[in-house]
Each structure stands twice: as C-alpha cells, then as structure tokens.
Symmetry: C2
Subunit: 102 residues, 2 copies
Amino acid sequence: MFTILATLKVQKGKEEEAEKIMEELASQVAAKEPATLTYLFHRLQNDPNIIIVFEVYQDEAAFEAHRRGEILRQAGTKLASVLEPGGVEIKVLERFAGFQRP
Amino acid sequence: MFTILATLKVQKGKEEEAEKIMEELASQVAAKEPATLTYLFHRLQNDPNIIIVFEVYQDEAAFEAHRRGEILRQAGTKLASVLEPGGVEIKVLERFAGFQRP
C-alpha cells in the first residue's frame, strides 16, 4: 500500500481541456495498470483550477511503474500545455487508520 | 457522493496520542456510520505532524450527519488538546474522473 496526494494547478481557461486529458488518463490507467488500486480526480469546490488526485498503489514499486510508464508520459506531454509552470505537487502519505467500504 | 479532504495540524510531541484518538474515531465511524463510505487517515511522510484525511460520504446529508454527530463530537473534544489552535482545514472536492478497485 502506497498513497499519493497530487495537487495540480490548471491555467485559467484550460479547465475543460485539462479535465478531458485526465479522464482519458484515468481510463487508460484503469484498463492497463492493475496495481494502481485507487486513482480519483477532483477539482476543489472553491477553486476549479486546483485539481486534487488521490492515488493508492499496491506498493511503492507500482507507483514507480506508473510514474515512469508510457501512459503517464503521454498524458504528461498533453498536460504540460494546460497546467501552470511548476504546477504539480506530489505528497507521499502514510496511512495509519481508517477504512474503505467495498 | 460527497468528498472531503481534511488537513489537521498536530502539536509537536502529541503525534502518538493524536493517532490513537483518530484510530478510535475511525473504528467507531466504521461500526456506526454506514453512509460514511471511505474514511482514511494518513500522516505526511515528510511531516508527521500533518494529518490528511480522505473522506467519501454517500451524499452531503451523510457528511452533515457525520459532522454534527455524537461520535465526531466526542473525538473532537479529545482532539482539541492535541491539535494546533485553528489546526483544521476542510476542503470540499468534486470528483470528475477516476476509479477505485474493490
């Protein structure tokens, strides 16, 4: 279990385009990365230019495989034109309690 | 579906006590709030005084019931002595893409 919280800043006016790229990314990952267990994209209710991605991987190796993989590389190229420069922040989270109903 | 990202700042030296209170809170919610679907507690890998809670409720009414309920009230009283003053930030997230494997 390896959890990531990613925050992405989208350029003003590029919200719709950005979300389309992320939808496509999510469906590719769903289809082709079984060790990516949870991959949820949200916009902040109070600021739709801020995207929060909650990601759970089977283990750190699965995250590394995702991070270095072809799917994310291709999406990253597209995202580069809609995100703010330096607009990606990645935090590693250590789960210590809680549950997720099936 | 109603998603919350909560960030809590724990006082230095109170990390262990805080995590115990949160573990107890999570198991109470698991047992008694079926409309709280996901309730995951994490510390930041780079700063164990920062707690990130990822919460998914069946709907906004379920979140309000949780927020105003007895379980959170009792935990909140205990947490008040281990969190920084004003150390709770709540963000509402709008999911637009992604998946969660069962």
